[in-house]
Symmetry: C2
Subunit: 250 residues, 2 copies
């Protein structure tokens, strides 16, 4: 052991840092996987010391299985690895976040995320609602809740009764010229907040308008927001936004 | 007990569902709090049966403290409650997500999130980087990584050497007319993908362009993306986007 330390000073320092984590009575800490583009929480498991070290070195999400009593690299059997772009430790050092770019679904059921069941408190008691195939009861943060609302409005258009007033979203979805004129108008209003010095609250409102109307267009073009974010990440990881634009601007 | 069930059938059904959760040997399951607008993972703790029931009824994030051996409602001493808008259960029923709208910082250190320390694998071994005051080593998903990159470019502008070529972002930040003309141009290009039927990949690229340029404007206007999302949530929770726009369109 002493000889190994002499060859490479690395393990000693790493060992000391790993010692400082707050392992529970079974030698485990919580490991939470979050999607790097969407922010979705994809899965939660536990990691022992070796699983943390293997994740650090392989950059693939690795855990410790409490039932099988061994480390496992997610995807070694299914092929659905999770590439780990960053690892973060919480304030009391007993929980890690693996910021990940998953290959395929993260859940063994085939679902995108392990959380597809909602707890609903109803007058007559608790209800569990949701199934892994539908993705209707996943925890949706604001951007994805808006995306889902737009998709619901579109789905409802075919059931529209004659004489029933369509929603504003349905109107935009059925009139591309109206939608495009609104997007251009909202972009102009956003610029105006800067040009006319209208303040940060107006700027936030106009950005909200622009985002909403653009997302209606994305729905018509069958583009999930996740794809837009994935493009943005690839671009600015390679400074692509900057490069492309400075080329054009010359 | 039989009489109670006769008065109100609710608890029996709720009890059966709570029985079906996979409590560990200490009667606990993992509880993860996620920010409803930004998707940030804010904190992780454990919940016992009573903590889950209290969260369901009070809609305030409640946990079980393993060290103090009691339930605690986060914020009861600090005032920093977390309002719970949704509760979700994972595939194997041993981990909950509380989708939350926090009042103030979620971490007892005063940090926004408990994850402010990054694990970095360097040639000479593991390194822990980050402190609760800086927020520089938090797990950043794509939208917030872009927001931070833009802010860094802006901060770097004051250290620009004479003759050094500024980044494209710095150029946009220093020339509001150029920025506004780019935002209008990108909005037009996004619309064109629909008008000219250019396909979903072009639409995703143009949306990425529009988002990036708009976020440069938001930086100049001191608007965090979180504020835009919070406005969007408030609007479509009350169908406000729809109402406002259909009024205007009449
Ligand atoms: Zn996703
Ligand atoms: Zn912790
Ligand atoms: Zn799962
Ligand atoms: Zn507007
Ligand atoms: Zn936040
Ligand atoms: Zn689980
Ligand atoms: Zn904390
Ligand atoms: Zn630092
Ligand atoms: Zn473009």
């Amino acid at each position: 052991q002493q000889q190994q330390a002499a060859v490479s000073p690395a393990p000693a320092k790493t060992d000391a840092l790993l010692d400082s984590l707050k392992w529970d009575q079974n030698g485990l800490i919580t490991a939470i996987v979050q999607h790097v583009d969407t922010g979705e929480v994809l899965m939660q498991a536990f990691a022992n010391r070796l699983a943390v070290q293997q994740t650090l070195l392989s950059r693939r999400a690795t855990f410790y299985s409490r039932s099988r009593r061994e480390q496992w690299c997610k995807g070694d059997t299914s092929g659905n690895h999770i590439n780990v772009l960053g690892m973060y430790l919480d304030c009391d050092k007993d929980a890690l976040i693996y910021l990940g770019d998953p290959v395929g679904p993260s859940c063994h059921t085939g679902a995108h995320t392990c959380w597809f069941t909602e707890l609903q408190q109803e007058p007559h008691g608790l209800r569990l609602e949701g199934e892994h195939t539908s993705g209707r009861h996943v925890p949706r943060t604001t951007l994805y809740a808006l995306e889902a609302t737009i998709a619901e409005r579109r789905a409802a258009m075919s059931q529209q009764q004659p004489g029933e007033k369509p929603s504003w979203t349905a109107k935009l979805l059925s009139k591309p010229e109206l939608l495009c004129s609104k997007i251009r108008e909202e972009a102009g209003e956003l610029c105006q907040t800067l040009e006319e010095n209208e303040g940060s609250d107006r700027a936030a409102s106009e950005m909200a308008d622009l985002l909403y109307h653009s997302m209606v267009l994305l729905n018509l073009q069958e583009v999930p927001m996740e794809k837009v974010l994935s493009k943005l990440r690839q671009r600015f990881a390679t400074s692509g936004v900057e490069e492309k634009e400075s080329r054009k601007a010359q």
